[in-house]
Amino acid sequence: MIRADLIKYSLNSLRARKRRSFLTILSVFIGIAAITTLISFGQGISAYVEQISQEMGNDKLMVQARGFGFGPPSLDSNVRMDETDLDTIRSVKGVSEATGMYGITGEVQFNDQKKYGYLFGSDYKNYRKLLEEVFALDLDQGTPLRGNEKSKVLLGYNYQLPEKIFEKPIQLRDKILINNHTFEVAGFYAAVGNPQDDSNIYITKDAMESSFAPENYLWMLVRAAPGVNPTELAEDVKDELRDHRHQDVGEEDFYVQSFEQVIATFKSILSIITGVVILIAFISVFVAAVNITNTMYTATLERTKEIGVFKAIGAKNSAILFVFILEAGVLSLIGGIIGVILGYLLSSVAGTAIAASGFGVFTPLFTWQLVVGSLVFAFLIGALSGLLPAYQASKLKPVDALRYE
């Protein structure tokens, strides 16, 4: 017998048991659809992180005061960082530039509505490139800040959308009240992809100092000189700053982190979370595999006599093995194909819905690797589940099989 015959036979027997094949396929594609959907979101988020880290560049460090708050920026810190700390950082060998950033809570009033966002004051005159890189900011519309403006403001993306932050969208050159000071909207930054960052408010250092007199820097941003390892530089900066602030090792009231480290930490947390979720979804594929085994086991039992006839007219064990494994694999592959299509539809719909609610971060990414991988995976799962029943079938003695009732 040639292989084409075997394949045709396999497909025919699947067709002969339509309902059973259908149910088995159904159980496979549910699991595959769930997994591809989840993976596509996981991939989308890592791609986003990758893109952000590209835009930030890996030559940056961040110095921040310690506090009891849950996660940065720690507005609650009572640790003071000022110009002398900044000068200390600038004097560290390997630092190419460094700037301080003020950050306070901003209460924005527009059309009698009040909303809250982080209000940042930065040195736009000298360090605009550094801070726009760090925050992955690109101007969406309007004019950039030059550094001297005392009453101009750049807003996060979401302020120009209706019903997002304010009912009415804010437009260029609109006047808004920030902590009871009037500012004119000079422009909007493009979307970063999460509601918090897209509600940020940016003004110049001068404007911050003259209007709100902040007590200390929220962050200090540092760029490493070309060729300097930022993670090693972070240690040097930490040492110098510790000396400057007269603290002992372990007593520091500040953090120094390179973006490399931050991104690496974030990535590992991300992969743990997606890993766990995918693992849970994988359980359903495992159950589907059990179903396939069951179906194939039934199939071999039903066709015992048939197998006997095959063997009697000269079929080898390997041919029988091939037929049943192929059947299991094909069942699962069809399930995989439907599952991938369904997963694609599901993640597109869910992705659109989530993006509409402001979390552009959660954009699914469907790569050809994912598609091919899912299909191969589905086929392998099926073939593997069919292995035991197929092996049993191939080992049947022709005489016994023929006699089977």
């Binding site: 549910i30 708050g69 009040k114 179903n291």
Partner: protein, 406 residues
């Protein structure tokens, strides 16, 4: 009669041992996954909520709005003024109003540093009230009293060498925000970081240390009669709107009862839990499809048998019941094994978590309601999956069924 059914159902399942086992395995895996996740998820929720629910229920908590990223009062634009306290305490239904300060700070002890927050304790009669509301009890030493300068009471975490290098002793001195303080008391363990990690000092001392003049981070209003709570809340909101000159719907403050504050946190945790359950639940559905498949096969295989039963007088209802029982049985037994396994996994993980990670957050919370629910659910899944095959079996025409050849 029922006994005959059960015997028949059991007998035919036993005849196809491998298939029955595989079908049950399908269900049991799903149930085990869901049960273990529910157990751990509920446990996490209990642990997290336990961090906050030591508060008594007869208080309204008033805070100014802003970006909430840390302890109360941080990231606020218009803080609460201390003049509010007297006004609020005069609002009908309010027995007393007390303001508190909360500041993030560094605490040092023999060269070791930790970050926590300091909170103020008011003078006079209010002191007793705060101790009652926050459920403050003493483990060692004494509590603060009026006129205590340069003295602090610490939470029990500072007895743990992990926090500051070695246990802090009564009468030792610690530095808080750069100033030296004598430790006069240690609070009893409450299992909540708010109490266990606390640094308490008198209000006047705290105002001077952190240079806070006429504001508060939180004001609590004590409402002795729970029935008044809703009405008093409206009155307090009206007062604050007038005082802070804001329109309805644009409040820059919040007035919450403890239940409300907890409900907000709880709903977030619950949403995450549901997401995980749904994903795990998919496997139960897949298991159910397995049951349906097995039952269809079973109907086809036993066509002749059904024909004979019908020929000797079995009614449709009987055939239907027989097959439905079979599938229900598959689901039920799969469910029992699944629950046992799932509970085992959950308790095993919790044990590993507490032994090797020392984390209280990994704990199990399973109750009879969940267990019975899961059991019922697996039985229902079994019967639902078996419904169509059972209908098909019951509708077979005896003559044709008898004639059927495999």
């Amino acid at each position: 009669m029922m006994r005959d059914y059960l015997q028949l159902a059991y007998g035919s399942l036993k005849n196809r041992k491998v298939r029955s086992w595989l079908t049950m395995v399908g269900i049991f895996i799903g149930i085990a996954a869901v049960i273990s996740l529910i157990g751990l998820g509920q446990g996490l929720r209990v642990a997290v909520m336990g961090q906050f629910n030591f508060l008594t229920t007869d208080v309204l908590t008033i805070q100014a709005s802003g970006l909430q990223n840390g302890p109360p009062g941080e990231g606020v634009v218009n803080p609460l003024l201390d003049s509010y306290v007297d006004d609020i305490s005069r609002i009908p239904g309010v027995d007393r109003a007390i303001g508190r300060l909360i500041e993030s700070t560094q605490i040092g002890y023999h060269g070791f540093q930790d970050f926590s927050y300091a909170s103020s304790v008011p003078d006079g009669k209010d002191r007793k009230e705060i101790e009652r509301i926050a459920n403050i009890e003493l483990a060692h030493g004494r509590l603060l009293k009026d006129g205590d300068m340069n003295k602090v009471v610490l939470g029990i975490d500072y007895l743990d060498p992990e926090t500051l290098g070695k246990p802090v002793q009564i009468r030792d001195s610690v530095t808080v925000h750069g100033k030296s303080f004598e430790v006069i008391g240690i609070l009893a363990k409450k299992g909540s970081f708010i109490i266990d990690n606390a640094i308490q000092m008198n209000e006047a001392v705290m105002r001077e240390l952190f240079n806070v003049n006429d504001t508060y981070d939180v004001i609590v209003a004590i409402v002795p009669n729970p029935a008044d709570m809703a009405r008093v809340k409206v009155r307090v909101e009206d007062y604050l709107r007038k005082e802070r000159d804001v329109e309805k719907g644009e409040e820059d403050f919040s007035v919450e009862s403890p239940e409300q504050a907890l409900a907000n946190l709880d709903s977030t945790l619950f949403a995450i839990q549901i997401f995980v359950y749904v994903i795990a639940g998919i496997s139960i559905i897949v298991g159910g499809i397995g049951i349906a498949n097995t039952m269809y096969t079973s109907v086809v295989e036993r066509t002749k048998q059904i024909g004979i039963m019908k020929a000797i007088g079995a009614q449709r209802k009987m055939i239907f019941t027989l097959f439905l029982l079979e599938s229900g049985f598959l689901g039920f037994v799969g469910g029992i094994v699944g629950i046992l396994f799932g509970a085992g996994i959950a308790y095993g993980l919790a044990f590993l978590g507490s032994t090797f990670l020392g984390s209280d957050l990994i704990q199990v919370s399973l109750n009879w309601f969940i267990v019975l629910g899961a059991l019922l659910f697996s039985f229902v899944i079994g019967t639902v999956a078996g419904f169509l095959p059972a209908v098909q079996a019951s509708r077979l025409v005896p003559v044709e069924a008898l004639r059927y050849v495999k």
